[in-house]
């Protein structure tokens, strides 16, 4: 059976993708952001997963207000980079894994998570920036990706606990998938940031550090954090951190923290990144 060997979390800031695409990653402003991902690039070369389940949110790219699925899983053979208003990012088309995507969809639905199935979708910076941070600028992404989109734009988004429980259901699904493949699950978005209104620019380093600590040592505690606490203490867009709990829910209770990176700022946002291996 397949298994989840590790979880990786990272912010998915669009300006980070633009900095890389425009060749600015070694400039003084951006170098400390990117250098924190050197370890991840080495780690992925050592670990060589067969596939990544990538938890992210769409930012009004594939989903407008016409349809707003709470949890939606990508089952298509491939996903093209979206045009978010500047033209698509110059990155490879993402190769999907329909067999695994469909398997997870069926297994989680029977486990009472009412997943939306997507057979056609463009993917925005929420999905492609994390891939760029892990793999740089290759001509092809090195492994297959199952995208899992979470609504964190229209209120109410799913609760942290619901996300955490979904992670557990995804783990169960992967462990009943007939293959010997090794899977990495990624949670993306965050950390503290607010992009709207007079409070824009909000950052809370103490909250972020506590969240990173809790992700390793006390995920049950993190799963109890209500939406209001995220918005109050991590900024309105800090709510994206509920997606990290899906990743964490898919791991063992005990994990080894392999790497952590935290930097302020990247554009309007606190950059956070962690690698957790199953013990």
């Amino acid at each position: 059976m397949a298994k989840i060997i590790a979880g990786v979390a990272t912010s998915h800031i669009p300006a980070v993708g633009a900095a890389l695409d425009l060749g600015k990653s070694t400039e003084p402003y951006w170098a400390p952001v990117f250098s924190g991902y050197d370890r991840a690039k080495e780690w992925f070369k050592e670990v060589k997963p067969d596939a990544i389940i990538l938890i992210y949110n769409d930012h009004a790219s594939a989903f407008s207000l016409e349809m707003i699925p709470t949890f939606a899983i990508g089952c298509a053979p491939s996903f093209a980079p979206a045009d978010e208003g500047w033209g698509p990012r110059p990155v490879p088309t993402v190769q999907g894994y329909p067999e695994l995507g469909w398997h997870i969809a069926q297994s989680t639905i029977l486990d009472e998570f009412d997943m939306t199935i997507i057979n056609k979708m463009d993917v925005d910076h929420g999905l492609t920036v994390p891939l760029s941070l892990m793999f740089g600028q290759p001509s092809e992404w090195p492994c297959k990706v199952v995208p899992l989109a979470v609504n964190v734009v229209q209120y109410p988004p799913p609760t942290g606990n619901r996300c955490y429980q979904l992670g557990k259901a995804i783990r169960k699904a992967v462990e009943s998938f007939e293959s010997d493949e090794r899977i990495v699950i990624m949670g993306t978005g965050g950390m503290s940031h607010q992009l709207q209104g007079p409070r824009a620019g909000f950052i809370n380093k103490e909250f972020d550090k506590a969240f990173l600590d809790g992700l390793t040592a006390d995920p049950d505690g993190l799963a109890k954090i209500p939406h209001i606490t995220y918005v109050e203490q991590a900024g309105s867009e800090g709510i994206e951190l509920v997606m990290w709990l899906i990743m964490r829910g898919a791991l063992n209770t005990s994990v080894k923290e392999v790497h952590r990176h935290y930097h302020v700022p990247a554009s309007n946002t606190a950059v956070g990144h962690i690698i957790l291996e199953n013990l």
């Binding site: 500047w86 734009v153 209104g197 950052i203 209001i228 918005v231």
Partner: protein, 129 residues
């Protein structure tokens, strides 16, 4: 549901994109969404009023777009991820939009972020150096 949303109203300088905002902002957001296509960006730039008139939004929403008043657009149901497409069409970065919403010059906003951002103890809105 009332209890759930009431708690968010105490957070200053923040609008939660709830069901009400989503309903009143539907056409404003769908206009912004249309700017994901190059042909629509060109049509909008060519004649903003004519393009905006193809969407059944309110006069106030129309005026807020023309004024690029992002705080007003948010008050009238706009969501920042949709509105960002207007900024992108204008060639503005997200950081530029954020500085506009805080009432700060872009460079001052950028310096605030480099210094660690708006910490929880800092005031909402423009920040003096």
């Amino acid at each position: 549901m009332t209890d759930y949303y009431d708690s968010f109203k105490k957070i200053p300088g923040t609008v939660i994109f709830d069901a009400t905002q989503s309903r009143i902002g539907y056409h404003l957001n769908m206009f912004a969404m249309s700017l994901m296509k190059e042909e629509n960006r060109l049509a909008f730039k060519n004649n903003e009023d004519a393009y905006l008139n193809t969407f059944p939004m309110t006069i106030d929403q129309h005026a807020a777009v023309r004024a690029r008043d992002y705080n007003k657009m948010i008050e009238l149901g706009g969501n920042i991820y949709f509105l960002a497409k207007i900024g992108a069409t204008d060639g503005h970065s997200f950081q530029k939009l954020a500085s506009l919403m805080t009432g700060m010059p872009e460079e001052s906003y950028r310096q605030m972020m480099i210094a660690g951002g708006r910490s929880p103890s800092m005031p909402i809105g423009p920040v003096e150096k």
